[in-house]
């Protein structure tokens, strides 16, 4: 009891914080279960009868599912390629005792300070001229490039912690660099790669600026862009807007609950100063 009293101020602040964090989400959930009339009567009360008609209506009117598939396929392809490309570069920078490693590392990390807006105009113009706007291929190429600096940064710092003796002794046994990379490094780095993928993947999944710039047709649009378009249409019909929001939140919530450990690990690892 005394212990609890000592902890009481802490719990008070924690619960207050949790309420401020969660209330907007629960409001959206409740609103999505209301009819417009129900919402007009009271915006914050529980729905008089929870009903799912908004979900059916929004699903029918808006192509949520294709947007989801676009986002997912773009994210997965980007992750696989950027991790592979980034890991190869990180291996060269840390394990192949190669003299100019420091200079190249700087070259790979420098883009981290370039805001995407700085390269948006030329990328758009180049893509228009070579026909890469409104294609998944084009946006995947951009995401790989914009993701690489962080991936290389994190992977080089992880690889540095792997003792050089491991690759050297494999070398003595006659293994090639490609074999060492493939058979030793990648398996050893698995948990780190998981953390990087989660962080980098969230960035791609939630990105709005690049799809806004490069994707034009409804067929190609990713989830955030689709939602933005529908929100405009439903203008202040909050039960409909809320339903859209819940559709967007659901996959990321499930992902968050399952992958939390890796997400937090990734945030912390990405923050280690270079």
């Amino acid at each position: 009891m005394r212990n609890f009293l000592r902890q009481a101020p802490r719990y008070f602040l924690l619960i207050l914080g949790a309420f401020l964090t969660l209330y907007p989400f629960s409001l959206v959930l409740l609103t999505s279960l209301k009819t417009t009339r129900d919402y007009m009567k009271s915006s914050i009360a529980l729905p008089s009868v929870p009903q799912f008609s908004n979900y059916v209506a929004v699903y029918k009117k808006s192509a949520i599912l294709p947007g989801f598939v676009n986002s997912l396929s773009i994210t997965v392809v980007v992750l696989v390629l950027e991790i592979l490309i980034g890991a190869l570069a990180a291996y060269a920078l840390t394990k192949m005792d190669f003299r100019k490693a420091g200079k190249y590392q700087l070259l790979f990390l420098a883009p981290m300070i370039l805001p995407i807006q700085l390269i948006a105009i030329p990328i758009y113009l180049i893509f228009v001229n070579v026909g890469l706007t409104d294609t998944k291929f084009g946006i995947i190429v951009v995401y790989i490039a914009t993701g690489l600096p962080l991936v290389i940064f994190m992977l080089t710092s992880f690889m540095k912690t792997i003792p050089i003796q491991i690759s050297e002794s494999a070398m003595v046994e006659g293994a090639s660099d490609l074999q060492i990379f493939n058979k030793i490094m990648l398996p050893l780095l698995k948990p780190n790669i998981a953390a990087i993928s989660v962080i980098s993947g969230l960035g791609v999944w939630n990105d709005f600026f690049m799809p806004l710039l490069l994707l034009i047709s409804a067929k190609q649009k990713t989830l955030p862009l689709k939602i933005y378009d529908y929100m405009g249409q439903y203008n202040n019909n909050w039960p409909f807007v809320s339903t859209c929001i819940i559709y967007v939140l659901m996959p990321i919530l499930i992902f968050y609950i399952c992958m939390q450990k890796y997400i937090i690990k990734g945030v912390v690892a990405g923050a280690v100063k270079g």
Binding site: I123, N206, Y256
Partner: protein, 295 residues
């Protein structure tokens, strides 16, 4: 011989990454520098060299100056408030007690949600007729506050948007502070306990100084995030009312892609870049020096 072959192989390993960085960062960066000195519309190849005229024009453009001011308001508010809230939150969350994992997850949750959705969620919260914020102020009798149109009043709009950004990103900084706090040796606190040092003094004399590296990371992070903010104002107010919540990124986007003034847009992007470079560079220098003094 062997090492020469290996060095060549190293280039081969780096080649794919190099291609991406050069094609998507370096070449476009050089192009932006060049465009920013032309009056190119982005259509056709008609363009005139204008030297630094676009840069000069920007500082004579009333809208640009408003937006530049907004960018600094976002910067100051986000960096200071997010620092105070997240480090306090980390101090409260840190430690062993029932539910610590739960609260940590809850506070981090908004950072994984796409910012566009966050913008719309807060549009509902701020609604001047049915929004819970209005209802709350009515319920506690503060009618002067309940009638404020938070997002469409040019005096309050930018602060209301800042608040949402802080709501969304505090958990991110908190997790980094928390990791920093857990790396501090418990011996230090035990020694302080023996000397009878109170919890506040412990926080300011032990925790805060030893968190210096985490503070550097978080401040630089939130600075860059605030300076180049785009998604949130785009979703929540579209930069309005007027230009009251617009950011440099949005202005650059509008000039380049809606008004076809690519040259001018590129100059704005360059100015944004210069601001980010100067501010985060100065911060990093000052904070690193601070770290060296402590550690």
């Amino acid at each position: 011989m062997h090492s020469k072959k290996r060095a060549r192989q190293a280039y081969l390993f780096m080649l794919p990454a190099l291609v991406f960085v050069v094609a998507i960062y370096l070449i476009p960066f050089v192009c932006t520098v060049a465009f920013s000195m032309t009056n190119w519309t982005g259509l056709g190849f008609d363009m005139e060299w204008r030297g630094l005229q676009n840069y000069v024009n920007a500082f004579l453009d009333k809208n640009f100056l408003t937006v530049l001011g907004n960018t600094f308001v976002y910067f100051i508010e986000l960096v200071i408030l997010q620092f105070v809230v997240s480090i306090t939150l980390a101090a409260i969350v840190n430690g062993e007690y029932k539910g610590s994992g739960f609260f940590r997850s809850v506070f981090f949750l908004p950072t994984v949600v796409c910012t566009i959705a966050v913008g719309f969620i807060w549009n509902i919260m701020y609604d001047p007729i049915s929004g819970p914020i209005k209802i709350f102020f009515d319920a506690i009798g503060l009618h002067s506050l309940s009638s404020v149109m938070w997002l469409s009043n040019s005096a309050t709009a930018i602060h209301s948007v800042s608040l949402v950004s802080i709501w969304q990103w505090t958990g991110w900084s908190m997790v980094i502070y928390l990791a920093g706090m857990q790396a501090i040796s418990p011996d230090l606190y035990e020694a302080a306990d023996i000397d009878g040092v109170g919890p506040f003094r412990k926080f300011f004399k032990i925790t805060l100084p030893l968190l210096a590296p985490s503070i550097t990371i978080n401040l630089v992070n939130s600075t860059i995030g605030a300076l180049k903010m785009f998604d949130l104002p785009f979703a929540i107010t579209k930069g309005g009312p007027g230009y009251a919540t617009e950011t440099l990124s949005m202005l650059m986007y509008n000039y380049s892609f809606s008004l076809n003034k690519m040259g001018y847009g590129a100059a704005i992007a360059m100015i944004l870049f210069a601001i980010i470079l100067v501010i985060s560079g100065a911060q990093m220098k000052a904070l690193r020096k601070n770290e060296d003094n402590i550690l």
